[in-house]
């Protein structure tokens, strides 16, 4: 009957095949094939690949392909509750930080927030030109009533980028000190970097409630933490071997070597990683508006959903403006670090 009958005959498994049937409900394709009543003739030309479905046709006890995705799903749902018990309290501070930051920027009057922002820009970049540029950009956004959305986006990015650095730098240091940890971490980092941003959201939606800020917080951190880890690891590994040898020869402890030599010399690379992390947070915060992240992303989403061209474009340009601001400010502070310690 089916193409691969002979396999099970040869193995003497007919009785096992007859004993069971696949438990998956019948698919639409199966139903259609049965309705049409056509008997498929098998020629070498249209020989089916011995897939789960093809083998199932020959032996009903054999599982179908649909059971794979269904198994994965039920497996995930099975561990979901226990996973939530562990992850929920662990990630709760993230929710507090995000909602705290959002509350703060929205409840503080603009005439405090904007000068404060400009002060920070001046402190990290020491460039008046940049301060003027940032001031004009934010005033421009506020002038067209995008101030709240822009500040929400900025608040989310700053919280997430701060956490990325807080977690990423120690992970990078651990990787630089042990080849084993590096070997284990690199595939994970590769996966995080290549996974399409939307895919992050799928398991997270099941794990956390969509109304919680930590849902998008975790998605942003997972996506944006990779460069700071990679560049911290790389920066420390690239520190001149001769200098490390000198540090050893003068009897430095590991601790003195790490904080007195390796981290200071790796700082330009670490800061380049921080810059990348901030830019990737911005990319993800727009996508995260799908799962209730507030900010300019919401307006972009509205533009797409309701075909409101103007709303979407203005919000998009606002995001570009924020990107330019974040990039310039972080690059200016990076340049200051580079100037302070020439190689």
């Amino acid at each position: 009957m089916a193409t691969y009958d002979f396999v099970f005959e040869a193995l003497g498994l007919e009785r096992w095949c007859a004993s069971g049937t696949s438990t998956v409900p019948m698919s639409m394709a199966d139903l259609m094939a049965r309705q049409s009543g056509e008997v498929a003739t098998t020629t070498p030309w249209n020989l089916p690949f011995p897939s789960l479905d093809a083998l199932n046709a020959a032996c009903p006890a054999f599982p179908q392909s649909r059971q794979v995705t269904k198994g994965l799903e039920s497996g995930f749902l099975g561990i979901k509750d226990s996973l939530s018990i562990v992850l929920d309290p662990l990630t709760q501070p993230l929710s507090w930080m995000l909602s705290g930051a959002l509350q703060t920027v929205l409840n503080t009057p603009w005439w405090i927030v904007i000068p404060l922002l400009l002060l920070v820009v001046q402190l990290v970049s020491r460039s008046w030109g940049l301060v003027v540029f940032v001031g004009l950009s934010i005033s421009g956004l506020a002038f067209i009533d995008h101030y709240d959305h822009a500040m929400q986006t900025l608040a989310i990015i700053l919280v997430c980028a701060f956490l990325c650095v807080l977690l990423g730098v120690p992970i990078g240091i651990a990787m630089s000190r042990s080849d084993t940890i590096q070997r284990m971490a690199i595939p994970v980092l590769d996966m995080l970097q290549t996974l399409p941003p939307f895919v992050y959201l799928i398991p997270l939606i099941f794990l956390f409630s969509v109304t919680e800020p930590k849902l998008y917080g975790i998605a942003i951190i997972l996506y944006a933490i990779v460069p700071v880890i990679r560049l911290t690891n790389l920066g420390i590994r690239l520190v001149d071997k001769d200098v490390i040898e000198a540090a050893d020869a003068f009897g430095m402890t590991d601790h003195q070597k790490l904080f007195g030599v390796q981290i200071p010399l790796a700082l330009p690379n670490i800061m380049a990683g921080v810059n990348q992390t901030i830019m990737m947070s911005l990319a993800m915060v727009v996508i995260a508006s799908l799962v209730s992240a507030p900010g300019l992303g919401v307006l972009v989403l509205r533009g797409i959903r309701n075909l409101e061209l103007g709303v979407g474009l203005v919000a998009g340009l606002g995001i570009v403006l924020l990107a330019v601001i974040l990039d310039r400010v972080s690059k200016a502070s990076l340049a200051r670090i580079n100037a302070a310690q020439p190689q």
Binding site: A246, F250, M252
Partner: protein
């Protein structure tokens, strides 16, 4: 600045050079015995092969292990400059890194002041590196993010002194190496020669009795290099450190060495007093080495004279025992008919015959019986 801490640092500073200076000549500071180093996956397995007489090339071809050092025996005397010379790949940099265990030996023994360094735990090893041995590097290896002053005071900073506490000491040594006003600059603002002066000041500030110098002057241009050699000799006259100096340059080796060790492919070809090696090389390798040098400039009167207290008939005057032959030739105007009385501290210790001087200038062929048989070869 806390006065007590300063007092502390100063007494510590003062104690050590005196003990070093007071070390009687001939006392062995560092003893290296039967040292082997094999690089590869299974050094111990390869060691058995080497002890059975396998050579460097065979070991690499048959076992994929690199023979770094073979059966090294050296006594490094206190207060002297021991120069280890060899071409690149001869294992000299590997050898010097064994002294402070930047590289671990495969087999053998290293004793510093009679203590077995290989038995040290991490804390003792750090103590050795902080207080007993300092190091100067070929590529300077200064910390680029710290000022010259902070670099010079590195050894003290590592021991836990604050900048205020080590400032005076570091400035003193910067001054001594000729970098008095440069303390506030960063290393990249200095030339190569000045950077290496910082490297030397850093080693001196640590006040260690033993100074390891790994091709310290090789990266400098010739004039600066001569300056630095003179600086080292000057400092050595004052401080009497135990210096281990690595070089691939024979002229430099002959200029600095009290004791010369010549390495080739990881074993010692010959070691001894430089003059002695020059007059009695025991190996073709060394003959090749010394064939290019100006013998008249390197050989000293004391190595060529014969010992006597009588005044010769054809005596043309007095020369010092440490003069080089070139100066004597200049004085005699090339006339070989004369002899000179050889003086040390105003006392005659021998006679130099000009004919013997000329014979000493004849290029040497390998001596028949070597001072040390070449192992395995």
């Amino acid at each position: 600045m806390s006065a007590a801490a300063n007092q502390d640092i100063e007494t510590e500073m003062r104690d050590q050079p005196e003990t070093a200076a007071a070390a009687p000549a001939g006392e062995v500071k560092v003893a290296i015995r039967k040292l082997f180093k094999i690089f590869g996956a299974d050094p111990q397995g390869a060691l058995a092969q080497v002890e059975a007489g396998m050579g460097k090339n065979e070991l690499l071809e048959q076992h994929g292990h690199v023979l770094g050092l073979r059966d090294i025996d050296v006594d490094i005397e206190a207060g002297k400059i021991t120069v280890i010379m060899g071409l690149s790949g001869s294992g000299k940099s590997t050898l010097i890194r064994h002294l402070n265990r930047l590289i671990e030996p495969t087999a053998g023994e290293i004793r510093v002041d009679g203590e077995d360094v290989l038995a040290y735990g991490p804390a003792q090893l750090r103590r050795l590196r902080r207080e007993k041995m300092s190091m100067v590097f070929q590529k300077f290896a200064l910390l680029p993010h710290r000022t010259v002053l902070e670099n010079a005071g590195l050894a003290l900073a590592v021991r836990g002194y604050t900048k205020q506490e080590f400032e005076d000491e570091a400035n003193k040594w910067l001054e001594r190496v000729g970098l008095g006003g440069n303390g506030g600059q960063y290393p990249h603002q200095l030339s190569g020669g000045m950077q290496q002066r910082v490297g030397i000041a850093r080693a001196l500030t640590s006040n260690a009795e033993i100074m390891l110098m790994d091709e310290a002057f090789s990266a400098l241009d010739p004039l600066i290099r001569t300056d630095m050699q003179n600086l080292l000799l000057e400092l050595q006259n004052e401080l009497h450190k135990t210096v281990v100096f690595i070089t691939h340059d024979l002229d430099e080796a002959l200029k600095l060495a009290d004791h010369l060790v010549i390495l080739n492919e990881g074993y010692i070809v010959q070691q001894g007093e430089p003059q002695d090696i020059l007059l009695h090389p025991n190996d073709d390798y060394i003959v090749d080495f010394i064939s290019d040098i100006n013998r008249a400039r390197v050989l000293r009167v004391r190595s060529v004279m014969h010992k006597t207290r009588t005044t010769p008939d054809n005596c043309a005057g007095e020369v010092d025992h440490d003069d080089n032959l070139e100066s004597v030739i200049a004085r005699s105007q090339g006339d070989t008919a004369y002899s000179y009385k050889v003086m040390r501290d105003g006392e005659q210790i021998g006679v130099l015959d000009m004919k013997a001087l000329v014979r000493a200038l004849v290029p040497t062929r390998a001596a028949e019986d070597g001072l040390r048989a070449r192992p395995g070869g």
